[in-house]
Amino acid sequence: MNDPAAIELLLVEDNPQDLELALRALRKANLANHIQVARDGAEALEFIFCEGSHAARQISDRPKVILLDLKLPKVDGIEVLKRIKGDPRTSMIPVVVLTSSKEQNDVVESYRLGVNSYIVKPVNFEQFAAAVRELGLYWLLLNQPPQVTG
């Protein structure tokens, strides 16, 4: 866990502008090191479960936090969340849903599946940047993940 090159944050985002703005906000908060980006749900699952192009990775090298958009190509965010929280090897990874959707169904379903936080992306960039900065600070620097073997 002390490998300095280990991935700390998995950012799952299909929209290139949102992705760039999120990375910009993380960089401005000095949180941009060791970020893995997945552009759809399938890619995210490959990374998390060390399949396909990520087959060489160890599943025990868990990211400290996953930022997950809900509306994603191929496999949607709710399905990704279900897989992560349904697998004992990955269920302890904090997942923050970061989405445009204010639909109550999505919020309720996400919490039912065990999401750790749910953030609606604001249009206002300062608010967006603040949200990204705060959740990055909390999950990457302050939150002490439970020690899990597996």
Binding site: Q17, D18, L70, S101, K102, V123
Partner: protein
């Protein structure tokens, strides 16, 4: 035997006859003038007159007045001509009671062939007459009942073998068979084939066991049309306790059955239509949800990019830009954010139509205090006086009512924002059992000429640079109030403040807005 002895013997014999007759019959003898010359004891007993009272009188003394004059005349003519009269006479006794006597009057002639006297022999038939009268009365009653029944009902009588032995006119009329075609047939002649064999079997089992059967039967008339009859079959038992015959009384219920079938068909159609509409509505709602979801998600993303990259330009290249360029970028950002707000409000508004109401009693006073707190009460940087009156609890959806109060109170705060001393009044009035809530401010108000635009979506009566907003708040208020069955309206004047009123249910007396 001497003549004398013969005479004596005859007299003795006559005396015996008379004694026997007196034992048996009521006897009177009348002379040719009709005066009573002899009565026996039975006559006295039945007429309740003494012999002395009767002798020398004529029969008018016991005349009941029952018989017409012609009857009496015919009697006298008969006997005056020397012929025997026989008949039944109603007489009146001394105490005013009546009695009937079967009467034979025998005229005895003199040597000239003229009546000498009349001997009337009577038998008391009062009891028989009474029984006859009763019988006649009850027969009469039975006939009346039968006539009434024939007027009213379809009647048939069937023998134990099921053969029809009697039908009334109504039976013939409804079945369209003549009486001759029906008598001797069994009921299969009008069988519609509609009822199951078990139904018919149950009917026969019931009546064959001497029990009454009641039910509704569909029959077929001679012309092939069908008719429904409400049927009661009563078995009449013979001396061995076995059914002797069955009397079936029926009422035509074809119209009722037709109406019932129509109602059933209409109900089925209605149910199907409701199911279809519900399915359509459900599908439309689903579609709308999917649509809202994409709008929410996909329209926000480009706006975020417009705002975010404008900010990035300002942050990274701000110093190199002229003031005008920086102001333009700020305007782009402001517009993008405003459009985001419009989308959010529009989605919130459209969600209201789909959301089910979860009504319960809402503590209005507590709700208002809570919202004032959320809106920044007690506003340390503004001079605001809030007067809150008595606010009764009201039934409604708590989340939606909170939205109503929030929108009205934040409007009141917003539009009184330019007053050095803002005043808010929150209260309610009770008229005819209807509670009307109101929120009053002393703010900028509006021109009542535009009051009809107040509750339209995206309708605003103020410039966005004067008072920010999307123009959805009051549209949301109206939709929620309408969904609660209530009404919302406003009164205002330019620069003299505004008052918004609303009710949360049907009003007892619909009328003009009354403050």
């Amino acid at each position: 035997m001497s003549t004398d002895a013969q005479l004596k013997a005859s007299l003795k014999e006559a005396g015996d006859f008379k004694a026997a007759l007196d034992e048996h019959a009521i006897v009177a003898i009348t002379d040719t003038q009709g005066r009573i010359t002899y009565v026996n004891d039975k006559f006295c007993a039945i007429s309740k007159y003494s012999r002395d009272e009767l002798l020398g009188q004529d029969h008018r003394i016991i005349n009941s007045g029952h018989h017409p004059a012609a009857f009496i005349r015919e009697l006298w003519t008969t006997i005056a001509h020397g012929r025997v009269w026989r008949g039944e006479i109603k007489n009146k006794a001394k105490d005013g009671t009546f009695y009937w006597v079967d009467t034979t009057i025998v005229p005895f002639l003199n040597e000239h062939g003229k009546p000498r006297q009349y001997v009337a022999i009577r038998a008391d038939i009062t009891e028989r007459k009474r029984v006859e009268d009763e019988l006649r009365a009850s027969l009469h009653e039975v006939n009346d009942l039968k006539a009434a029944l024939d007027e009213h009902a379809i009647v048939a009588i069937t023998n134990p073998q099921g053969k029809i032995t009697f039908v009334n006119d109504k039976f013939c009329a409804i079945s369209k068979y003549s009486r001759e075609e029906l008598i001797g047939q069994d009921h299969r002649i009008i069988n519609s084939g509609y009822h199951a064999a078990t139904f018919i079997r149950e009917l026969w089992t019931t009546i064959a066991h001497g029990r009454v059967w009641h039910g509704e039967i569909k029959n077929k008339a001679k012309d092939g049309t069908f008719y429904w009859v409400d049927t009661t079959i009563v078995p009449f038992l013979g001396e061995q306790g076995k059914p002797r015959q069955y009397v079936a009384i029926r009422a035509d219920i074809t119209e009722r059955k037709r109406a019932e079938e129509t109602i059933q068909r209409l109900n089925a159609q209605l149910e199907q239509r409701v199911a279809e509409r519900t399915a359509q509505l459900h599908a439309a709602n689903k579609e709308l949800e999917a649509f809202s979801y994409s709008v929410s998600h996909d329209l926000h993303a480009p706006l975020r990019a417009v705002d975010g990259f404008s900010q990035a330009v300002l942050e990274d290249f701000g110093p190199q830009l002229p003031d005008e360029g920086r102001r333009y970028l700020q305007t782009i950002r402001f517009s993008a954010q405003r459009m985001g707000a419009l989308i959010d409000d529009l989605l919130a508004f459209s969600r209201l139509g789909r959301k089910d109401l979860a009504k319960r009693a809402v503590d209005t006073g507590q709700l208002v205090q809570e919202i004032l707190g959320e809106l920044g009460s007690p506003w340390p940087d503004r001079q605001i006086t809030v007067r809150t009156g008595e606010l009764p609890a009201s039934p409604g959806d708590p989340a939606l009512l909170k939205q109503v109060w929030t929108n009205l109170l934040s409007n009141a705060l917003k539009y009184s924002g330019k007053r050095s001393q803002a005043e808010l009044e929150i209260g309610c009035t009770q008229t005819n059992g209807t509670t009307t809530f109101f929120v009053r401010d002393n703010g900028t108000g509006f021109d009542m000429r535009y009051a009809d635009k107040l509750f339209g979506v995206f309708q605003r009566l103020h410039r966005v640079e004067d008072y920010e907003g999307t123009g959805v708040g009051l549209a949301i208020v109206q939709r929620i109030v309408h969904r609660h069955g209530g009404r919302v309206w406003a009164e205002a004047a330019v620069d003299r403040g505004a008052t918004f009123y609303f009710t949360l249910g049907p009003e007892a007396k619909p009328g003009e807005p009354a403050p």
